[in-house]
């Protein structure tokens, strides 16, 4: 677990701020987000809908829709270069090659009018200087790696002929074709059934062991995170509220939001022997809209530990214990 300590991060995000302008005016979807990704690790970015986790992922590849969305401030460093300053050509060479992405919807992220083979070999022909034939062979190899039965036949098929689980395998294969250094997976299993989810998670871990790719896993599912991540970044209302190693975060959460989130999970390992009724721990209130003006800590209105200070002053994220960061004044009072 300590493998990143002596390592240099391969991807470094610093003070990222992304704004969207809509009919209600301008709002920051993410604000002052900073984190590092180290080689060979799986970093999970978790949070509820609207917390900015997908916007963070999209910013890394500069996929934020413009002109509504805009990366206003910040730095995304990859291999010594700031991605935000790259010209279009270098950006194309980066996307799908050194950094690739798996999207949430395996149903809609493949092109329905092209065969699987065409969509996969295209990636290789574009990024690497190889012939169509070589690309095809490499594609078949990759399809075997993601455990597609009968890969040769699969190349001739169209996306609608495959199930959701198979399509997600194709997406993973496509993302891995150029042997990327960073794989961003945005809710890769959310649309799938649990038995298929288990297969896909197994596959992602296996591939990481084999290829050593660093993974950023964007998800709302804390159970998935507990199973496959090394480190966790917890986001709330566009900001990072806590960051640390997965065991640290789950065993000793240092932010009341993380603490509340973990307690509100229905979990089978907590059910008691007799058939007595068990209550889930509720977190009162709602996630604030990004359009509401805030002063102080954005979690303060829902926080059981909130004080007068929390309502006036915004807590900045700081390291409290080795490698564990939190943005809370009251972190010592969480039991």
């Amino acid at each position: 677990m300590n493998r990143h300590i002596n390592n240099q991060p391969i991807l470094s995000i610093k003070n990222l701020r992304v704004i969207f302008s809509g009919e209600f005016g301008e709002a920051a979807a993410i604000n002052d987000v900073s984190f590092d990704l180290f080689p060979k690790e799986t970093l999970a970015v978790v949070g509820e809908s609207g917390c900015g986790k997908t916007v963070t992922a999209l910013s890394i590849l500069r996929l934020i829709q413009s002109p509504q969305g805009k990366i206003e401030k910040g730095l995304i460093e990859f291999e010594g270069k700031n991605i935000l300053k790259l010209d279009t050509k270098s950006l194309y060479r980066l996307r799908g090659n050194k950094i690739s992405m798996i999207f949430q919807e395996p149903m809609t992220s493949l092109n329905p009018v092209l065969t699987i083979g065409r969509q996969l070999t295209e990636v290789l022909v574009f990024h690497q200087n190889i012939t169509e034939k070589e690309a095809q062979n490499k594609t078949i190899e990759m399809l075997q790696l993601v455990q597609i039965p009968d890969p040769k036949n699969c190349l001739q098929q169209y996306p609608h002929q495959l199930s959701g689980g198979m399509r997600q395998r194709i997406m993973i294969a496509m993302a891995l074709l150029c042997d990327p250094r960073v794989l961003i997976a945005d809710e890769p299993t959310t649309a799938l059934d649990v038995t298929i989810q288990a297969q896909i998670l197994d596959l992602m871990l296996e591939i990481q062991e084999k290829l050593g790719t660093a993974i950023i896993l964007i998800t709302h599912d804390l159970a998935v995170v507990a199973n496959i991540a090394d480190r966790v970044v917890v986001m709330y209302a566009g900001k990072i509220v806590e960051e640390g190693k997965v065991k640290e975060i789950y065993n000793n959460p240092r932010h009341p939001y993380t603490h509340g989130l973990l307690k509100s999970l229905p979990r089978l390992d907590n059910l008691n022997e007799n058939n007595k009724e068990i209550r889930l721990t509720e977190m009162p209130g709602l996630v604030p809209s990004i359009y509401t003006k805030r002063i102080g800590c954005s979690f303060a209105p829902r926080c059981p530990l909130g004080t007068e200070r929390c309502r006036i002053e915004e807590p900045l994220i700081k390291t409290v214990i080795n490698g564990h960061r939190t943005a809370c004044f009251e972190w010592e009072n969480i039991n």
């Binding site: 509820e48 809908s49 199930s163 689980g165 198979m166 059934d193 649990v194 038995t195 298929i196 989810q197 288990a198 297969q199 998670l201 197994d202 871990l205 709302h220 599912d221 804390l222 159970a223 998935v224 995170v225 507990a226 199973n227 496959i228 997965v246 065991k247 789950y250 065993n251 509340g260 989130l261 973990l262 509100s264 999970l265 229905p266 979990r267 089978l268 390992d269 059910l271 022997e273 007799n274 058939n275 009724e277 068990i278 209550r279 889930l280 721990t281 509720e282 977190m283 009162p284 709602l286 996630v287």
Partner: protein, 325 residues
Amino acid sequence: MKKDSKPLLTVKNLYMHFPIRRGLFQKTVAHAHAVDGVSFDIASGETLGLVGESGCGKTTVGRIIVSLQKPTKGKVLLEGKNIFDFNKKKLKNFKRNVQIIFQDPYSSLNPRMTAGAIVGEPMIIHNTVPRNEINNEVKRLFNRVGLHSEQIDRYPHEFSGGQRQRLSIARALSLKPRLIVADEPVSALDVSIQAQVVNLLTDLQRDSQLSYIFISHDINVVGYISKRIAVMYLGQIMELAPRHEILTTPLHPYTESLLNSVPIPNPNIGYKRIKRLKGEVPSSINPPLGCPFHTRCPIAEKKCSIEKPVLREIQSNHFVACHLR
């Protein structure tokens, strides 16, 4: 459930085969076997969980129970009377007793009606409350589900997902039903809001002897709210037993694999890769002969691909459809 107490609702041998039509004359070329012989009953004040993966027929069962869909074959009995024999008047009366909460709180509320009108309308249609008292009753229901009475004149789009689901619950409660079919009521909600809605449903049941059929793909949530759980696969019930037995001593190999696939939010136990199910759910248009699960079953024998196992009581109140148990 106790044998001697009369069930509130009984489902008997329910079949739903949807025709698949093709071509110019919309000829029926095949049938999708959405529900294939489902039977269970539910007592007053009980929660029965229906759990299964997408396409297993759980939602169709729910829709048939509230008579949104007529089954191909089979009966739904409310206190012993088949609802499909009811005339219009009796059916209306039945609908008062059995209500449904839908999965998607965004599309199941009329965007042009105010929240108060949505909750009040059933009482006007069924004439259960005098007109001049409807406003008070709506206010009472709003308070009951944790909404503010100032929100009565707002429109659905002004509510968040969790609040809309509270609104759906208030609408379902407005007729004082005896059974609520909750079809994935918390799947569209965030974790912190999910707990609020699950607790609300539990509280309402304690206060008024409501029965729930709780349909979900999430065995964690089903495990929390249900007294008994029915596990469905390809239109059939594979196992039906009290919650604790399903969760700790599952007898059907499908239930066991399903539980093994559910990730547990605890990083200390390590990631298990045991007893993974291979392959995917077969198509319901051409379901496998014999046991529907035999194509993925880790312990299947020859018999399983020939003969369909029936749901039988192996231990007291523990029903399993498997030849090998």
